[in-house]
Structure formats: structure tokens, C-alpha cells
């Protein structure tokens, strides 16, 4: 509780009442930090007079939020430094497109007669087909229906692609970027999740999705079993499938109940590789095991930080997969987005063998800051808008 008469502040805290005559004066909206046994500290978030109405509470932010924004800026600066050293070209893909991605679980935001991007992937690959070999972008992306501590409608995605490269090089980039960002902000190759330190020094441990299911869910995942068979495997493993009948819903239910909690326990970063082919619509299949795709995800302290593909370059297979996604969208009553013909044309022209990745910059800043919610490192999100 805070009472104010004349220039004396009286604070009633759990430790008792504290009286305080500040050297300056405090106004409504100021932040007061009380440490037992010490003078309360008043911080004026914005003390300058450059704002139209400095007394308005709208212009005052808590110090913690300002710190979060500084961390975010450091992370972005370190990302750009890394790619400059690696001789990458920074590109700015369009935010408004006619055809967003078709992935089943990602819903796009309608804008005029097109959509806002859910990822800059198609434009980036067209640039690769056009002759660029090492490119990156920090793109604002939009995904409808996503809101939570680690999800926001609008977010910043870092994507980078290497032509004539495979996932191994992308893993190396990821390890370097994440550990360097932590060094830049925290002075050590350690991410912070809540109060827990997570080791991100390279090289990261690796585990296949199949091994993860065997170890943590006691499920022998073949990726070739039918949805019915997978449902039976879940039941045997003690996971109640509820009304889930689709293969992907069953997979993600088991993932959420058994794999994610185990990932959250790890005190080091992990590369989770080889995903079931149906869950990687833009990735190449493993030549020797066609039910699995060349995809990996990077997990730090249980937070899904990045997703990478060894990119599919076959235009006809890509078209068939888009059609299948459209059919599935139609069957589930989801909006059916048009196929990006210019993207397919670029694949036909010739996309070099390449690998690429999407990394959540907001989540990376969270890990550098020890934030547990996006709002701690974003200017304004969710109900603040």
C-alpha cells in the first residue's frame, strides 16, 4: 500500500510501515523498489521532458521492461554481427503475400485480398533460386489464433539459408548464434529459463525423434504406422488419446505429454532431429528411410527455439504436398490458401540443394533475459495493444 502526504511516502509492506522523504518527488506512475532495511528507490522510467505529456502514465514503463528491450536489441545486434562475419546478405522479404504457407497447424492473417506472412520462407527460397547463396532475414511474421507466454500474433522470425549446404552447417550456425548471444548479454554461454541456467556451449547434444519417443514416451514410433496403430501405442503407453484420431494430433499429444516435459528438464541445449515425413511438408525425405524427413528442432530449456529443413527442391513433389495439405485443410474445415505458383516456378527453374532454418528471435531474447513471458522482452503484446 502506498499513501502520500506532502513529500513523505508511507509504504505499508509485509515487513511493516516505512516512511520516506524522497530527495526528488515521486509522481503517480513512478516505480518504487522496496528492499527491507534500505531506502526505497524511486525510478522515473522516463525522466526527460521530450514527451508531449510527461505526467501521463502511458509514457512510463517499469525498469524491468526497459531492460528487456535492451536485451532484445543486443541479441539482434549480435545476430547481425555473426552473419556479417559469415558473409551473409541481409534481405527483407515481403510481409504481405498472396499465398501464405499451407501448413495445417499455422493459420494466416487475412489482409485485403492476400495475407500477412506466417514465415518468409517462400520469398527466401525464390532468392536462393535466383542466385543468392547465403541469405538471412529478421522478418515480422503473423500467426492467427496464437497467444500465450511463448506465442504472440506478431513476432520476429530469423531465417537463414545456405545453398549447397546441409543441416550440419545449419546446426553449427545455430550453436554459434545462440551461444554468442548469451555471451553478449550474460557474459557466458548459458541461457536462463526462469532461474535455471541452461548450457548452450557448442557442440549441442543430439537425439532423434524416434529415440526421444522410445526413451521418454516408451513408444516405438515408426512414422509408417496408421493413425489407428499410433492411437493403440499411446493407450499402451498410458496416454489418453481422448477424441484425437488424426496421426499428427496423436503424435503431438504424446509429444506434449511426454517429450516436452522431459526436454524441459534438460540442463543443456538439444538438437531433436529426423522428424516423421508428414510433419515436414517442405523438407527432403531421408534417402534411406523415406518415412522420416531431414528436419531438426533446437530446444533450450524446454523452449522450442528453431526449426530447420534440408529443403525440398523437387517442384512436382512440392506441388503434390501442397495439394495434400489443401485437401486436408478442406477436410478439417480450415481456410484453404492458394498455392504459391511463383514459388513452384522458382523450384522448377532450379533451387540449389540448400538448408535453412527459422529461429524465434523473441524466444532467443527471452532465453538471454531469463524471461518467462514474451511481454518481458517485447515493446507491447497481447492485451497491451
Amino acid at each position: 500500500m502506498l499513501a502520500r502526504d506532502a513529500d513523505v511516502l508511507r509504504l505499508r509492506t509485509a515487513e511493516g510501515e516505512v516512511s520516506y522523504s524522497p530527495a526528488g518527488s515521486a509522481s503517480p506512475g513512478d516505480w518504487i523498489t522496496v528492499v527491507p532495511g534500505q531506502e526505497p528507490q524511486i525510478s522515473l522510467a522516463f525522466s526527460g521532458g521530450d514527451y508531449p505529456d510527461p505526467s501521463s502514465e502511458v509514457f512510463r514503463l517499469p525498469q524491468a521492461r526497459l531492460d528487456g528491450l535492451r536485451v532484445r536489441a543486443r541479441v539482434l545486434a549480435e545476430i547481425r554481427r555473426y552473419f556479417a562475419e559469415q558473409d551473409f546478405l541481409e534481405v527483407e522479404p515481403p510481409t504481405w503475400v498472396r499465398s501464405p504457407g499451407l501448413e495445417l497447424h499455422i493459420q494466416a492473417l487475412r489482409a485485403e485480398d492476400g495475407y500477412l506472412i506466417t514465415s518468409p520462407e517462400f520469398a527466401m527460397k525464390r532468392l536462393l533460386a535466383g542466385g543468392l547463396q547465403r541469405i538471412y532475414a529478421t522478418a515480422r511474421c503473423f500467426r492467427s489464433e496464437e497467444e500465450g507466454p511463448q506465442h504472440a500474433l506478431e513476432f520476429t522470425m530469423l531465417e537463414w539459408y545456405r545453398a549447397f549446404a546441409c543441416l550440419e552447417e545449419i546446426i553449427g550456425d545455430t550453436e554459434a548464434i545462440v551461444s554468442r548471444c548469451m555471451m553478449a548479454v550474460r557474459g557466458r554461454a548459458e541461457a536462463l529459463v526462469g532461474n535455471r541456467a541452461i548450457d548452450v556451449s557448442p557442440p549441442w547434444q543430439r537425439l532423434s525423434v524416434r529415440e526421444a519417443f522410445a526413451r521418454w514416451a516408451k513408444i516405438d514410433l515408426l512414422a509408417s504406422e496408421s493413425a489407428d496403430e499410433l492411437r493403440t501405442k499411446l493407450v499402451t503407453a498410458g496416454i489418453a488419446p481422448g477424441t484425437a484420431t488424426a496421426w499428427d494430433d496423436l503424435f503431438y499429444l504424446a509429444f506434449l505429454e511426454r517429450i516436452e516435459p522431459a526436454l524441459a528438464e534438460l540442463d543443456h541445449a538439444l538438437v531433436l532431429y529426423d522428424w516423421p515425413a508428414p510433419l515436414a511438408a517442405l523438407a527432403r525425405r531421408k534417402p534411406d528411410a523415406p518415412h522420416w524427413a531431414l528436419r531438426f528442432e533446437a530446444y533450450v530449456g524446454g523452449i522450442e527455439l528453431a526449426n530447420a529443413f534440408d529443403e525440398l527442391t523437387d517442384a512436382e513433389e512440392q506441388r503434390a504436398r501442397f495439394r495434400a495439405e489443401q485437401d486436408e485443410r478442406r477436410a478439417r474445415g480450415l481456410p484453404v490458401y492458394p498455392i504459391d505458383e511463383k514459388f513452384l516456378a522458382a523450384l522448377r527453374e532450379g533451387l540449389p540443394p540448400c538448408a535453412g532454418i527459422a529461429l524465434g528471435v523473441d524466444r532467443l531474447a527471452m532465453l538471454a533475459h531469463g524471461a518467462e513471458e514474451l511481454r518481458q522482452i517485447a515493446a507491447f503484446v497481447g492485451d497491451e495493444l
Partner: protein, 187 residues
């Protein structure tokens, strides 16, 4: 029926025939996949908490539960009689439903009574009650820190910890959630 997007704290749903209220929820989406709402539910009858992952698109059945403000009137044998101040309707609630807080009830106390399928299944007391001390050791002068507690019986019958300076007849503010002393009141 409720959609996953309807999930928020306090939402009352029916699962396996039992009424539950949402106490915590979080949007999750593992591995670019299906969206779920990881939800903690409290059973309104037993107080037990369960966690479930509700897939987007799944439906939840609303529970027929209602909260009504009612006054406690009197004890009748082992039962407790409450009255709706608006309709004057009276309901008798058995001791088992009242639970451990029966000894904090006092005449005319405004409580919240929870009905499930029109049957009273629980009560919530106001956060604070004001009651006299009916029995305690005599007060010790000089100690006003309130750090050391002694037992005291209040007029509702409950025994709570109070500071040493409290005397019989003192009028106290009591937090019913923690069953603890807050402060001495002037009458």
C-alpha cells in the same frame, strides 16, 4: 458447448459427470504442430486438481453450476440453514458440504453458496470476518510486535493464533482463507 478459445480462469465445465473450474491455462503448440490448451481444472466437489491437454477444436461441456449470495441463519442439528436475501428461499446444507470452516460461521454472515444441478455443493466464506474473543490467556503488556502467537477461541467456535496482547472481549478481523488473525478492531 465451449471451444478451447473460451477457456479462461473460472470457466465451469463438466467432465466425467463432475463440475470443474479452470484455475490455470496456457496455450501450447509443440513442434510446429497441433495447438493445445494445457489446462488445470479444480474439481468443485472434491477440490482435487487435474491437468489436461485440450486440443484446439475439442469441445467442453458447460457445467450447470451457479453461485448465489446467501446469509447464514442458524444451525439445525448437524445441518446449517442459509437464506437467499433476495428470494427469502432457505436451503439446508449438511455439515459435510460446509467442510472445515463450519466453526467460522456466524449469524447473518453473507456467504457464497455453490449449486451444482440445483443442489448446494459448497460454500465460500467472505475473505474477512469480524468476531469477539471468547477465551484466551490474559494479555501480556509491552509485547506489541505480534510475532509470538497464543491460541484464542472466537465467538464462532474456531480457535486461531493471536498476538500476546489480545484479551478476552477484543474484537478481531480474521482472514477466513488462512484462518488467521489480521488485526484488532475498534467496535
Amino acid at each position: 458447448m465451449y471451444e478451447t478459445s473460451d477457456i479462461r480462469k473460472g470457466l465451469k465445465v463438466l467432465m466425467d459427470g463432475n463440475p470443474f473450474t479452470v484455475v490455470e491455462f496456457q496455450f501450447v503448440k509443440p513442434g510446429k504442430g497441433t495447438a493445445f490448451t494445457r489446462t488445470k481444472f479444480k474439481n468443485l466437489l472434491t477440490g482435487g486438481v487435474v491437468e489436461k491437454n485440450i486440443r484446439s477444436g475439442e469441445k467442453l461441456e458447460p457445467a450447470n453450476v451457479e453461485e448465489r449470495a446467501m446469509q447464514y441463519l442458524y444451525k439445525e442439528g448437524e445441518d446449517f440453514v442459509f437464506m437467499d436475501g433476495a428470494s427469502y428461499e432457505q436451503v439446508t446444507i449438511v455439515a459435510e458440504t460446509i467442510g472445515k470452516d463450519h466453526d467460522l460461521l456466524m449469524d447473518n454472515l453473507e456467504c457464497t453458496v455453490l449449486f451444482f444441478n440445483d443442489r448446494a455443493v459448497g460454500i465460500t466464506l467472505p475473505n474477512f470476518i469480524f468476531a469477539h474473543v471468547t477465551a484466551t490467556e490474559p494479555g501480556a503488556r509491552g509485547d506489541s510486535t505480534g510475532n509470538v502467537l497464543k491460541p484464542a477461541t472466537i465467538e464462532t467456535g474456531a480457535e486461531i493464533g493471536v498476538p500476546l496482547f489480545i484479551n478476552e472481549g477484543d474484537f478481531l478481523k480474521i482472514d477466513t482463507r488462512t484462518r488467521s488473525y489480521v488485526e484488532r478492531q475498534k467496535e
